[in-house]
Subunit: 321 residues, 2 copies
């Protein structure tokens, strides 16, 4: 079992690599080699099998051709230009999110080895005037360029899978919280900052109203779901290889109350409220009410409560801040 | 009012050109110039304004740049590689149906003149495991590369419109019948042949079972709907610029009975039934039960009966066979 993680330097990629190092097997076979590739060479992880780190630019077809050989069994495609960045820089988003993914698909097609390709999509594919809840059969109606690009790749992933060029699986990530590390250019970045910074005794700003609803998933549960997605039998996906990961629907206020329930009232006092029109507008276009029947049937899971999200962050990532 | 029809040599492009020549105005302004462009130079049409014909390859960005100037007000993008052809030749379908459309969008973006762009999409964007009827908010779940490419362009059309780069409108065409001319490589081609050939006293073969359901629209009504789509105010499309044209849901058997009702029993006797597995498989993936509330509200219409489709063909196209 030979694994490639594109975007292996990102926080999801790093956590996935650690989880695979502990799991030792994937799709019923022992892992022999795992390559972490990213635009900058990623940190390596300890594992009882060969781990390599590489620089790779998915927007460059030659770089992808070099990276993906006929010996690769499973590819995780996590590399992306995040939401607010893709909205600010349309060309960059298209280059990486659409054409980068297409480079991966085209390389797989050329190889004829039909690798498993696990793609991290986004709830951003949904939006606009569609009824609640979002079902497995709800229209893509993205209100951002990021969501548009992710939706297009889902369509390609399905078509390349239908044609037998790749064994694709697309998993739409909810808002992943609490993320470790620094804020990024995702419009959802504050949805980690408002917990992460206060838990570390640092002030944070919330740019949206406290009653804003969100659809949350912890990093720990997200990684487990990615692995379930990689291991599920292809035929269980039916005529569409993509689905929404289960999450928790909560207001910002409720999520903060969960933090308070776990660690007491002090961290919440470090949050100041400064609504920002541009972020509010983008976030207002996101959906938070999902029926994830297909993912549930495949065994993907949501967190039991946002208290768990807080506990996982404390256990997994407090030292990483 | 300066109009460009990409795919102006096709039968829809030609009929649209004739209709615009008669209409003389579009979007409240007199038409001053109309350019018909296609991979081979199209036939011209008689009009009380300037009509030009050009060769243009939408897959070639330079050809598109030359074709679309800052003076173009309305573009009809009808050029496409049809369904069975795009299924047989994946690269050709991607080149024309996806990247060709992207060339048009990118050219419009560069010009900053925000032309109206009317795109002919397809019911092929729908399919697979989604509930009946197909609503305005039903998932794209194409079971063909053609449908995949059309769905991706719808997403791009929406995003370029949302960003103010173009004023896009995507109209999904039902099975257009009765088409004039020769069979083409659309998997739906027989849905015209089985009427057109017998009406001209020629034998025809139907490759699917008589109880196969289809969603039909006449060429005459399709052209009217394209023009309504071009003229509708942008804000009436809301957060999605694309919709399904209303059609009639009928079995092949019912449609043939309509032909018999108009012209008597002789033509139907010229149809022989030879089910073909590949065509049946593709057609079985198409949907035929649609709720077109959004199109209805904009004033797009279906034919009153399939008898009308037969009459329109006799009136408009019998001499063209």
């Amino acid at each position: 079992m030979n694994i490639l993680i594109l975007g292996g330097g990102g926080f999801i990629g790093q956590k996935l690599a650690v989880a695979l190092a502990q799991k030792v097997r994937l799709r019923g076979k022992p892992i022999e080699r795992m390559v972490l590739a990213d635009i900058n060479a990623p940190r390596s992880v300890d594992a009882p099998f060969l781990v390599e780190t590489c620089r790779c630019n998915i927007a460059d077809r030659a770089s992808i051709d070099e990276m993906i050989g006929a010996d690769v069994d499973v590819i995780f495609l996590l590399a992306a230009i995040v939401s607010a960045h893709a909205e600010d820089d349309f060309d960059k988003g298209m280059e990486v999110n659409l054409f980068g993914a297409l480079n991966v698909l085209e390389r797989c097609r050329t190889l004829k080895t039909k690798p498993t390709l696990v793609f991290s999509s986004s709830l951003g594919v949904f939006g606009g005037e569609v009824p609640d809840p979002i079902e497995d059969w709800t229209l893509f109606n993205p209100q951002s360029s990021y969501g548009t690009q992710k939706a297009m790749v889902e369509l390609l992933l399905n078509d390349y899978s239908r044609r037998g060029m790749v064994d694709g699986r697309g998993l739409r990530l909810p808002t992943i919280s609490v993320r470790p590390g620094l804020p990024n250019r995702a419009a959802s970045s504050y949805l980690s900052s408002i917990f992460r910074e206060p838990l570390n005794g640092v002030e944070a700003t919330c740019p949206v109203e406290p009653d804003t609803m969100q659809y949350f998933l912890s990093p720990r549960r997200c990684i487990k779901n990615l692995i379930i997605g990689a291991e599920a039998k292809a035929e269980r996906f039916g005529q569409n290889r993509c689905l929404t990961m289960p999450g928790l629907t909560l207001s910002i206020h409720q999520a903060i109350a969960a933090m308070t329930a776990v660690v007491g009232p002090e961290p919440a006092k470090l949050i100041s409220w400064e609504p920002q029109a541009d972020i509010q507008k983008m976030v207002a276009g996101w959906r938070f009410n999902f029926n994830t029947a297909k993912a549930d049937a495949l065994g993907l899971k949501r967190d039991a409560s946002f208290e768990d999200n807080i506990r996982y962050f404390i256990e997994d990532d407090m030292t990483a801040v």
